[in-house]
Subunit: 655 residues, 2 copies
C-alpha cells in the first residue's frame, strides 16, 4: 500500500479522489497497480530535487545536531509570535483611543466607550479561554515550574491550550492599562507549549537516538520566551536559571543562550523591518548621561529605594495572597466564580475602567497612557523636577506623555503619588481575574527592578532593566537596590509571588512548599511509601507470570529473590515476560524465570529514611522515572512521579 500513498501527493485533487474510490473498492487490485510503479510527472526534476533536499539535510545535520535547529526554530517562532501579538494589540489599542477621541464632547458616550471596550475584551478573553481550555487562565508560570520539576500536569502543554492562551492573552492586553495586566508569564507559558510541540517533532524524527529530554527543551523555551518578549537575551537566560528549578544543568546553558539570542535578534529585526526602530537596539532606549552617571554617595539613596521597594513588596504580596484566598473561600464570590466566570471578569473590568475614567479619577493617575507609554515615561531621562516647575517644557516636549503626567493645575508629584497609592489596589484586584494574563510587567512598571525582584524573589529584573534600557551605567546601584529589596522580601520565609500562587492553587511543586515551610525538608518518605503491586520471584513459574501479566498494567516489574526474603534483584519488562510465556507454552519442560530472562539490575535503591526532598532531587536531576525503596535489604515500595505527586499533595495539606 505504501507506494499508492506516496503517489497521492503528486496527483491533482480530482485524480486523488478517483484513486481513493478505487482503493476503497478493491484493495487487491491496487496492490498490483502499485507494484507497477505509477506514472509521475517531471520524474527527473523530482528526483533531482529530492536528491538536493537529502544532500542539504545531510550537510545541515553534519554541521549541528537536529536539536540545535529546534532551538533556533524555537527562538524564531516565539519572537515571531511575540511581534505579531504586539502588532495586533497595538492596533486594537489605537482603535480604542481613536473611538474615544472621536466622541470628544459627549462625556456619557466617552464613558461608555472607555468602560465597555475593556469590559467586552475581558469577557471575551475569559469566555474564550475557559470554553476551549480552562487551564489557559492565569499566568501559567507556576504550572510551568511544576512541570519542569518533573511532575506531569495534563493539558498544560497542549496545542488547544496554546491557541486559547494566545487569543485570550491578546484580548486581555488589548484592554490596555485600565486593566493593567502584562504579557511575560503567559508568554513564557506559550513559548513552553511551542517548545513541547517542537520536542514532539524532534523525538519523532530522532527516534531512540535522541540526545535531549523534554525538560531540557522546556528550560530552553523559558529562556527564549523572556528573550523574545523584551529582546533581552541575558535576562532571559538568568530568569530560566533562577525561577525554573533548584538545580540548573550547565549542559542547558549554551542552548538557552542560543535560543535566546535567536529570539531576541528576530524580535529586534522584525521591529526594524516594520520601521518601528532604525536598527537592532534596546527596546526602551534611555539616554542618561554616561560621563558621570551618579556620585558615589548616591548609592546609599539607591539602597534606601531598595529597602522601600522591599517593604512595599511585602504589603503587595500579603494583599495578593489575601485576595486570592478571599476569592476562593468567600461563599458568594466562589460560587459566582464557579458558574459565571465571564460575568465576574466583565464586572471587575467595568469597575476598574470606571475608576480610571479620565474625566473622574483617571486624570490623577495618568490613565490615558498605555503600558508601553508608562514604561517609556518611567525610563525617560527628563528630570521630573524640571517638569513640575516648567509648564512650557511639558507642552514642547516631544513625548506626549508628559502632558498626562502633569494635568493642568496639578504637579507631576501629585499625579505620581496618586498613581502609586491607587494602582497597587487596582493591581491586586486585577490579579483575581480568571483570564490569561501576566503580573510581572505591571509590577515592573509600578516599582521597577527592585520591586519586581522583591515580588518574584529574583534578581533577573535588574538585568532586564539594564537590557531594556540598553545602558549599563547603573548596573551596581540597580543590583544593590534589588539585592536589598530581595533580602527584605525573603525574610521570615515569605513565599514569592509564584510560590504564593503555587501554594494557593495547591500545585504539586515541592520547592515552593519547602520555601514556605522549611521543616518539610526533613520529612522522610517512610509514611508515604506505597507497597509494590506486582512482585516476581526469581524462580517464578508460568502460572505466576501469567497471573501478574493479567492483573497488572505496569510495563516493568521488580524481581526479588523469594517472596519471603524480598531481596531486590532487578527488574524485568512486560515484553520479556510475554516472550517467556510464549517460549514456555510450546515446550513441555517448564523453566523458571531466572533461566530464560535477563534481569535488569536496579542502579539505585533508597531507604525509607531518605527525605522527600532528597528523592525529589535525585529523580529530577538523574531523570529517573521509578525508584525502588528497600529497608534492611527488603523491597518495601516503589516511587514513580505519580507517587511523588501524591506525596507532595499530602505534604501540602499539612501546612
Amino acid at each position: 500500500m505504501q507506494h499508492v500513498y506516496v503517489s497521492y501527493t503528486s496527483l491533482g485533487e480530482n485524480e486523488q479522489h478517483g484513486i481513493r474510490h478505487a482503493g476503497e473498492k478493491n484493495t487487491q487490485e491496487k496492490i498490483i497497480i502499485s507494484n507497477e510503479r505509477p506514472w509521475k510527472p517531471w520524474q527527473p526534476a523530482r528526483s533531482q530535487i529530492t536528491g538536493c533536499v537529502r544532500r542539504v539535510q545531510t550537510a545541515m545535520l553534519s554541521l549541528a545536531g537536529l536539536e540545535w535547529y529546534c532551538y533556533a526554530a524555537l527562538g524564531v517562532l516565539t519572537a515571531f509570535m511575540s511581534f505579531c501579538m504586539d502588532l495586533t494589540i497595538g492596533k486594537l489599542l489605537r482603535a480604542h483611543q481613536w473611538l474615544y477621541d472621536c466622541l470628544e464632547g459627549n462625556i456619557l458616550l466617552q464613558f461608555l466607550c472607555w468602560t465597555l471596550y475593556p469590559t467586552f475584551l475581558c469577557a471575551l478573553s475569559t469566555s474564550f479561554s475557559h470554553s476551549i481550555c480552562p487551564q489557559s487562565a492565569g499566568s501559567g508560570l507556576p504550572e510551568i515550574r511544576t512541570i519542569l520539576s518533573g511532575v506531569q500536569l495534563a493539558d498544560y502543554l497542549s496545542l488547544s491550550n496554546l491557541f486559547a492562551k494566545l487569543i485570550g492573552l491578546i484580548s486581555t492586553l488589548s484592554a490596555g492599562s485600565t486593566v493593567f495586566l502584562g504579557k511575560v508569564g503567559p508568554f513564557v507559558h506559550l513559548s513552553n507549549m511551542v517548545g513541547a510541540y517542537l520536542y514532539r517533532l524532534y523525538a519523532s524524527a530522532c527516534g531512540e537516538k535522541q540526545r535531549r529530554t523534554q525538560g531540557e527543551m522546556l528550560v530552553v523555551a523559558s529562556a527564549a520566551g523572556i528573550a523574545s518578549c523584551f529582546g533581552a537575551p541575558i535576562s532571559g537566560v538568568l530568569f530560566s536559571i533562577e525561577v525554573m528549578g533548584s538545580h540548573y544543568s550547565v549542559r542547558d546553558y549554551c542552548p538557552c543562550f542560543f535560543a535566546a539570542v535567536c529570539g531576541s535578534l528576530t524580535y529586534r529585526l522584525l521591529s526594524v523591518c516594520s520601521r518601528e526602530q532604525e536598527t537592532v537596539q534596546a527596546v526602551f532606549k534611555t539616554t542618561f548621561p554616561s560621563e558621570i552617571p551618579y556620585q558615589p554617595p548616591e548609592i546609599l539613596i539607591f539602597a534606601f529605594l531598595g529597602l522601600l521597594c522591599g517593604a512595599i513588596s511585602c504589603v503587595y504580596l500579603y494583599s495578593h495572597r489575601w485576595i486570592l484566598r478571599f476569592v476562593r473561600t468567600n461563599k458568594f464570590i466562589s460560587r459566582f466564580m464557579a458558574t459565571e466566570k465571564t460575568l465576574y471578569s466583565a464586572t471587575v473590568a467595568f469597575l476598574l475602567a470606571s475608576v480610571t475614567f479620565p474625566h473622574t479619577g483617571g486624570s490623577f493617575i495618568a490613565s490615558q497612557l498605555s503600558m508601553k507609554q508608562l514604561l517609556f515615561s518611567l525610563l525617560d531621562s527628563t528630570q521630573w523636577n524640571l517638569i513640575s516647575h516648567n509648564t512650557t517644557l511639558v507642552q514642547e516636549s516631544p513625548h506626549s506623555f508628559w502632558q498626562e503626567w502633569s494635568p493642568p493645575g496639578y504637579s507631576v508629584y501629585h499625579t505620581l503619588g496618586c498613581f502609586i497609592l491607587i494602582k497597587l489596589w487596582l493591581l491586586v484586584l486585577a490579579c483575581t481575574l480568571p483570564l490569561p494574563a501576566g503580573y510581572f510587567m505591571p509590577v515592573f512598571i509600578y516599582g521597577a527592578a527592585a520591586f519586581a525582584g522583591a515580588v518574584t524573589h529574583t534578581l533577573s529584573p535588574a538585568l532586564c532593566a539594564l537590557e531594556l534600557t540598553g545602558q549599563s551605567t547603573h548596573v551596581v546601584p540597580i543590583l544593590t537596590a534589588t539585592l536589598i529589596s530581595n533580602a527584605l522580601a525573603r525574610s521570615r520565609h515569605q513565599p514569592s509571588f509564584y510560590d504564593g500562587i503555587s501554594l494557593i492553587k495547591k500545585l504539586p511543586h515541592l520547592p515552593s512548599l519547602i520555601r514556605a515551610c522549611p521543616e518539610l525538608s526533613s520529612v522522610q518518605i517512610r509514611q508515604f511509601v506505597v507497597p509494590v503491586g506486582a512482585v516476581l520471584q526469581r524462580a517464578e513459574g508460568v502460572t505466576g507470570v501469567q497471573h501478574i501479566l493479567n492483573s497488572s498494567k505496569e510495563n516493568e516489574f521488580p524481581v526479588v529473590d523469594t517472596h519471603d526474603s524480598l531481596t531486590l534483584l532487578g527488574t524485568i519488562t512486560r515484553a520479556q515476560l510475554q516472550t517467556f510465556l510464549l517460549s514456555n507454552q510450546s515446550e513441555d519442560l517448564c523453566k523458571s524465570l531466572e533461566d530464560e530472562c535477563s534481569i535488569q539490575p536496579v542502579k539505585l535503591q533508597l531507604s525509607t529514611d531518605a527525605t522527600v526532598k532528597q528523592v525529589h532531587c535525585i529523580m529530577s536531576i538523574l531523570r529517573e522515572q521509578c525508584v525502588f525503596v528497600t529497608e534492611k535489604g527488603k523491597l518495601c515500595g516503589v516511587i514513580t512521579w505519580k507517587e511523588m505527586k501524591n506525596m507532595i499533595e499530602k505534604l501540602a495539606k499539612e501546612i
Copy 2:
C-alpha cells in the same frame, strides 16, 4: 585556667610577663587566684563595651545569618586585594618605564633594562612560588574546578599557597606586556583561598549549626573573584555558573550575586577614592555612538568575525596542548624544568623580552603598551581607518597609545597584523612558564570576547566585555559572534583551555574527561569497586567489635545481617562501638551489637551497574561522602571521594 587566660588580655605587657612567670612556677596557686576574680581596670566601662558588642552581635545575627557577613567580607577582601595588587603592579611598571626612558640614547643599556627587568621578576616569581608552595604555579582554575567537583586536593587552599601565589602573581604581572600574562585565573584561585579561610572561621563560629558547606563558599568565592578583578558582577556570577561545575545549585545564586556586588562596588569605590575614576563606573568605559550603533546587515560581519575567532582559537588550543605536552615529554626540557625551574623561567622571559624590544621587532607589535593600555586601545571608539590616514590625529590624540600603534612610516594595520601574527606564538610560549599567571586576559586582549569565549568554551567573556565597557548597545552582535566561535571551538569534542590543562596535568576532574572522550560516560563502576574493609554483623560480639576497632581507622562501619548473607542494614559510628565496648566490659552478660546500638539506616544504595558519571553526579549534588554498593541485595563495596578520585585517575589512563 580559663579565667587566667581571659585576664591576660586586659593587662599591660609588664604585668602579663609577671603572671606568666607565676603561672609557670605554681599552677595550683594560680587556679585559686583565678577563682577569686582578678582585679581589672575600668571594670564598668569594660562591661558596658562587652554588653554593647553582644547587643550589636545579636542585632546583626537577627538581621541576617553569619554566612551573609562572610559573603560580604569575601567580596570586600578580594576587592581590596585586587586593588592593592593593581596599585603595586602599576608602580612597578611605571618604575620600569621610567628607567627605560632615563636610558634614552644608549641602546645597549636600554636593551639590558628592557630584558633584565622582566627576566628578574619572572625568575623571582618562579623561585618564590616554588620554594614556598609548588602548587601555587599556573592558573589554578583547573584545580579549583576539580576541588569544586568534590575531589580534595591537598595544599591548594592553604594560607601558604595564598601568600606564595599573591607575591608570585604580583611579580609576574609586573613583568608587563613583554611576558603577556594575566590576572584572572590566579585571582579566582586567590579568592577561593580567602573563601576557604573564611569558611573555616564560619564553621568554627557556627559549630554544628552551620547551614552552608565549603563547596558553596567556594562557588561564591569564584564569582566574587571575577567581580573584584574587573568590577563586573554579572559576568562573575555567570562565570561561576558555567565554568565551575556541571549542575549549579540555585541556592548559591543570591549569595554569588551578593558577594559579587560587594566585591565590584568596593573595587570601584577604591578606584574613586584613589582618584583613578571620578565615580563608580565601568573600568574601561567606551563611548560608541548609541543612536544607531550599527546597521542590521553588520550582524553578518560580526558573525563572520565569530567564525574567524573560532578558527584561530582551534589553532591556539592545538598549539597550547602541543607545547605543554612537548615540555612534559621532551627529555631535555623536562629534565631542565624538573631541576632548574627558575633558570627556565628566566630564559623564556629573556627570550620574550628580546623579541619585543622596541628598537628591534617590538616597534611592530606595539610592545611598549602595558596590558591595560592595550585593552584601552582595543576598546577605544576612534576609528582605525581615520588613524591610518591622518597622522596629525595620532599626534593630537589625548591617548598616547595611538603613537605606539602607528609608528612613523607604518600604518596601524601593519602593526596590528604583526601583533596578531607574532603575539599568538609568544603567548603559547609564555604559557609554559612555571609561575603563577593567568591566561584569560591575554587571550581576551588578543581576540576579544568571541576568541576568549571560544578558547575557554564559555559565554561569560561576552558579558565581561559588556560590563568592562559599560555599554550594552552591542549585546546581540557580541553574543552572536561568541556563540558562533564557541560552536566552532566545541565541534568534534575538542577540550577547552581549562579541560586541556586538566587532562595534561592528569587532574581527577571527571567532566573534563567526559568532554574529551564521551564514551567514558557509560563506564560502569563494576570494575572499580573496592570491597569494604571492615564489616560488622548485626549479632557481632565484643571480640569482633574490638578486633575491628583495632584493625581499622574508619569512623563509620557498615552493619550487615550476617557475614554470609551480607544484606546491608545500616551503619554504625566508631563512637557508638566504643560505648558498646565500655558498657559490655563492666557487665558480665554480653549483649549483641543490635540490642545496644541504634543502627543508622543507609539512605542510598547503588548497584555495580551504575555509571561512574552517575555516582559522581549523586555524590557531588547530594554532597554524600560515602555511598555503599550492593549487588542483588549483598553489600559488595563502598565508594568515598578517595575511591572516586582513584576511579577518575584510572579512567584518565584509558584515554
